[in-house]
Structures are given as structure tokens and as C-alpha cells.
Symmetry: C2
Subunit: 448 residues, 2 copies
Amino acid sequence: MQFIQISGRSLLAVFFLTTWGFTLLAATPASDLRVNAGRIEARILQLGTFGANPGGGVSRVAFSAADLQGREYLMALMREAKLEVTVDAAGNIIGHRAGSDPALPPILFGSHSDSVPNGGNYDGQAGVLAAIEVAQVLFENHVVTRHALEVIIFVDEEGGLIGSKSFVGHLSPGVLAEQSHAGVTIAEGIRRLGGDPEHLDHAAHRSGEYAAFLEMHIEQGAVLDSEGIDIGVVTGIVGIDWWDMIVQGMANHAGTTPMDRRQDALIAAAQLVLAVNRIITSEPGAQVGTVGRIRAEPGAPNVIPGRVVASLEIRDLSNARILDLFARIETEALGIARATGTTISFRKSPIHETAAATDGAIRNTIANVARRLGYSSKRMPSGAGHDAQAIASIMPMGMIFVPSVGGISHSPEEFSDSEAVARGANVLLHTILALDGNPRERSLKPEE
Amino acid sequence: MQFIQISGRSLLAVFFLTTWGFTLLAATPASDLRVNAGRIEARILQLGTFGANPGGGVSRVAFSAADLQGREYLMALMREAKLEVTVDAAGNIIGHRAGSDPALPPILFGSHSDSVPNGGNYDGQAGVLAAIEVAQVLFENHVVTRHALEVIIFVDEEGGLIGSKSFVGHLSPGVLAEQSHAGVTIAEGIRRLGGDPEHLDHAAHRSGEYAAFLEMHIEQGAVLDSEGIDIGVVTGIVGIDWWDMIVQGMANHAGTTPMDRRQDALIAAAQLVLAVNRIITSEPGAQVGTVGRIRAEPGAPNVIPGRVVASLEIRDLSNARILDLFARIETEALGIARATGTTISFRKSPIHETAAATDGAIRNTIANVARRLGYSSKRMPSGAGHDAQAIASIMPMGMIFVPSVGGISHSPEEFSDSEAVARGANVLLHTILALDGNPRERSLKPEE
């Protein structure tokens, strides 16, 4: 609905109709603006040359020489799009574009440019180049929005949302001393990028400073690709909790201990693995639960396992629901322990991510924009963490997913088609225009 | 029955009644002969000083300096018992005692004196000192058996039945080049003991050369101890087969892959672990099946396991039954693979031990002797491997188990009470006397 209002207005607005939220110096109606798919693709591939691995893919981990080169390249592109580029105290790159109404808070959008070791060219990077493309298209078409716009390239997303947590003032000070993938501490890395780790508070923002945040990102899953859907309208970013599950039985000689005299920790652990799966899938919803690591001790083929340690990860859009599911697993474990003559305990890992809902009105806007552009869309959670998760603590936030071929991510095989990325960038562009045109209605509309 | 005949006769035989199989120079009737529990215990403890660990237990691995010292000590005891001591080409120590009828083949009995690294004082060693004690008691009571007797101390049992396999000519030549626990090759180790690894054939024997083999050994399990039974009449030594079970699923992001799109190799592996347990316990019998080792790959809490490799061990008194049980597991695995979208394959490990039945008439004799001595007994398989397993290929064989406190073995906590060991040694003594008295009936009698 919002988009249609805006585009309806924009057809009437030919010159300097700043009342309507943007200014057209050229003849193209705002609703007809489209990103340049070939340009985005070429830039993704160019960015991928910094830190490229001989066998394919990229290792442009935060703070590495390749990261510095990639950031220089991106800052040049931002300047080409007439963005005013600064680096904040955390090392985040911010490209500012003035709006027509200085009283309005800026709309923020972007993603991250760092990769995991031996990663691909799309995770984060597609979103960064889509954001720069949006600024470029607005510049080329002489569109001035009411709100200022800021393109942001977050630092070290893969190391734990370092840039976005700093941006909202939530980075734990202890993290600065941790080793990054580049082999230097986070603090030293931030210095390398021109940041100021001693004054991270200078990079921190508060509620009200920004109107909204938008991030386009590859799905990193196979849902959109396998269902042939163009756009994922992200309903929220899941919370994550990790536990260690410890099963204590009795190690014993596998030859001399009859079957009915065993306290086999692996038998109990196998039941527990299946119980986790059964409990997680027993309710409708997007929750996932995974046992990814398991170790039997002492771990010899001829010794009955006396102890098994396995990981448990639960993700859901609600942290409370994660704890509910965990409580059901704990209860089930009691019964398994009783039946197998073992004890089962759970040790909470420090790994905890708070779930972040996207803004209902922004979700509607993204879905409406996609429909208007002729793209299919689907509401879906993000099972992976994103900078948007941190940013959501101080502003309304929305995320746009584009399909990952085969759902492959964090791998040299990671790939998203240039047209798929361009569709995401077009949705990003028109969602920004829609939010810019009607910001006050945004948060008041109930979700469709 | 046999024992009662013998002892009945022995009460009549006071001087040189060699017709009845042994000669009494002293007044003690043969049926009243008993080992000296305190002497056996003292010698076990003395042997345990060679290679004693500061924290308890012993590391007298084959070919180590401690092993050499222990063997010197044992050879001195054997000479004290008036055994004629030789070392064969494999390094086995043999103590010979002439019989009254040179036409009869010797009765062989003994065990091994080496320990596992950080082992205890009873595994093998109790049997060796029981065997020497038997020779000592016969000497002290001037008993001459019809058959010659040979006490044997096998070399490197813990390294893979090296001495006993050599004794029957079954040691694979390649094994000689393998590293022993002592850090030298098996060949070099045998040389250290005075053996001749280039001429192992000199140590090899054939069917008919010996009348029978008897081994007293600690149970290394908890059956006798927990049931309060004195003597285990070993029905056979189990065969052993190992496999690797390989489950191939699809590794994937644990956050972005919905539960219904997973091919989680660990879910399949957990079902497989439980299926192994269910199939093994679905039939009566002494068979055991164990999954002792499991590894999920890549093994991160936030990645769905794409591959799981787990061990499978099955032991039974029949190698054919092991293969039958394995075939049932394979069939079940097919169904699990289909249901979980994975593939499951089995790779045979080279680990294979052929099951060895004990001789039915010797089992009867052991049981009758135990009853006559007032000891409770139970027929039971040996789930662990023993030298007797190799020896069974060339002569009738029997094994006598004594209780292990708590079933603990291969550990400094390994313990068998001195009275329990003495009961086993008494059964060994009187079984030898029984077999000596009536050898021709032995293999003709059906098992009770």
C-alpha cells in the first residue's frame, strides 16, 4: 500500500516536488527506477579479487590486508555514488547522503564486507554492493529523499558482529582483547582500519538517532532456491543458545561386560539425540535444534563408553521458546538417564544470541514492494545471525533475503545469480523510497 | 566323575602306585593337596614390584627392562619348583617336569606375565603364579604324574598373543616388524628375551604334541564377583569382529536449514547405535555388541553433521553367529538410511579373532573338581582374548576363571582376593591330576 501511494505521487512529481519526499531532476518516475544487475555483479566479482583463494572463493577476514584493500575499493565506489565517507571509531564505513528534511533521522542500510576463512563472494558482500548500488542509482537519477540516507559497511561481522554491536554500544569490552581471524586482536584490527578502539563509545548510537535499518543479504539456506521464490521477507533473526550435554555412564570392558550389566553412555546419548530431534519437531514453527558434535570416552572400539559429551544448539525467533524447548529436553533426559543407568547433565555455554524481530510495518513494506515489482516473496526467519540483529536494539529493522543456489554458504561454492541479487537490490531501493515517503505511518500499521 | 575316580584311587595308593597315574612319597592323599594361598599372594606382590608405578599398578609391558626382571624372578621360582627351564625361539618360558610315562604327551598350563601399560597385578600374573604354585606343591608332595607337565609363561600376550600364536605356528611374519609397547619391534624384543625371531618355527608345535592346555585367569568382568561365585568354567573364548560404520548425510548450516530439509548423519547414527543394541539383546546368549567410538563431521555445534563414523564390535562364541548378527544390523541400517535420507556403509576392520571353544570333557572336569573342593562355579564365556585361544588350535583346552573385584581390569585397581586366586589354583591343580589320571576318557565323554 505504501509503495503504491508513493509511486502514485511520484508520477505526478516531475520537478522539485520535495513535499512528496524526493526530487526528480530527470524524467524517470521513481517507481521505474531499477538497479543495474550487471554493475552489481561486476563489483561483487571485483571485490572478490581481494583475498581470492587460488582454489576459488575468498579469505578476506576482517583486519587482513585483503580486507583493507577491499574496503579501499568500496570507499572509492561510495565516493563515486557521491556519498560522504567516514570511518567510525569501530572501523565501520559510513557513507552519508543528505536528505531534503534535516529534521528527519537518516535511514541506514548496508551489510558487511568481511568473509569467513575460505568463504564465498556473496555473504555480506552482495548486500554491501546492493546498498552502494542504491545510492548510485539515486545519485544518477537525481533523487533526493526527505530523510538523509546512510550506507554502512560493518566491520568484522564474521568475528561476532563487532561493528554492529559497537554501533549500538553493546560490544563487551573484553572482546577487544580477543584474537581475530587475521591473527591480531580485535583492538589492533580496528586500529588498522583507522578506528579508535579506546573510544568505541564515539561509534555508539541511541534509539531515535536513525529512522530505520535495512539489510539485504543472501539467505544462506535453501528455502528460497528450492521453492523458486525471489525474495525472503525476514520475520526475525533467531536467538541462539548452546549447551554441552554430558552423559555419565560406566566405562567397561566390551568383551567381559554382559549387555544387561552395562551403563553405556552412548546408548543414553543416542536416545538423547533422537529426543532432541523429536521435541524440536513436535511443534509447528521455525525452531531448529542440532547436535553437531559428539565424543564418546574413552573412545576405543573395545571399551563401553563411560562418558559422552555432545553439543546442543537451539534457535528460535523467541528466546523464551528456546528455553521452553530446552526444559522439555531436560525432562526427557531425566527419563533416559533413569532407564539407562546413567546421569545426564547440561552445561550452558556462553554462546547466547538474543532473538531480534523485524519491524512489522517494514515487513509489510518489503512484501508490498516485492509484489509491486512482480517478484514472488515469502516470509521466513533468518536462522543465521546478522548485523541487523544488533542494530534492532535501537531502531526498527527489516531484512531482505535473496536466494542462495543450493543453500550453500561460508564456502567457495556460495553463489547467488546476478538477477536474484538485483531483485533484492530493487526491493531495497524501493523499500527505502517507501519508508522515506511515509515514515510516520510505518510503525502504526498492523502487520498484514 | 573323573575327579572322584582319581581321588578314590589315590586314597588307596600310598607308595609307588604308578598305575594310577601318580606316585605318593608322602602321607598326604592327592585329593587333600592344596596350594598355599599366602605364597601365591606374596609372589604376585613381589612380581608386581618389577615395573611398579608410583601411583599404583604396574607397567611391565613385554620386552621392557621390568619384563626382563620379572621373567628372571619367575624363572628362579620355577627352578625352585624343580622345573627344567628353557626359553623357546619366541621367548616363551617353559618349565618342564618329567612324568612317569614317557609315551604320554605333556599337559601344558600357564598364562602370561606381561601387563598392559598402567595395568594391574593380576591379569596373566595370577595365572602364572598359580601354575608355578601347582608345580611347587607337586614337588613338595613328591607327586609324579603320568604325563610330563609343562608350565608356560607366554610372551607379550597384551601385544596380540605373540607367544601363544608363535607356539602354534600362527604368528604372521609381518607382526615381527611392528612396534611393541616397549618401543622396540617385536623381533628385537624377542631377541632381548633370548629368543630367536629368525627361527620362530623352532617354537611352533603341532596337534598331538601336547595332551591338553589349562589356563587359570582372572575373569576381567564382574559376573563372578557380583554373583558371589568362586570359579568360572569357561565355555569358550569369544570371537571378535570390528567394523567401521559410516553414515553419509549432508553437512549444512544448523541455523538456516529447517528440520524437514536435513540429512543429519547423527540422527541416523543414533538410530543405528540403538539398533545395534536392540539386535544384540534380541536373542538369548552371551553375544555382546558395542559402539565405543563415534565422531561427527565437521563436528561443530552450529553445523548439521554431514558424516558420522562409528565403530562396531561384536563378540560371540561362534564366529558364524557374529556374522549373522552383523547381517541383521546391515539390514536394519538400510531402513534407517532410507528413512533419514542418508547412506550407511560398513567397512570391515582387520581386527578379527576366531572364537575358540574349550574342550567339553575338560569343562566337565573343571566343574566336577570345583564341586569336589566345595567351590561354587558357573559356566561362562570369556569375553576377553587369552593365550588359550591360540593354543586351542592344536590341543584340547580349558580355562578356569577367578573373580575380579568389581570386574575391574587393565587398571591399577585390578584386584582378586588371595583366597579367590588360591581356589582357582586348587582347581587348576586337581584338574591336572584328574586329566592325568584318565586322559583317554577325557575327550569321549559328552558334556554334562
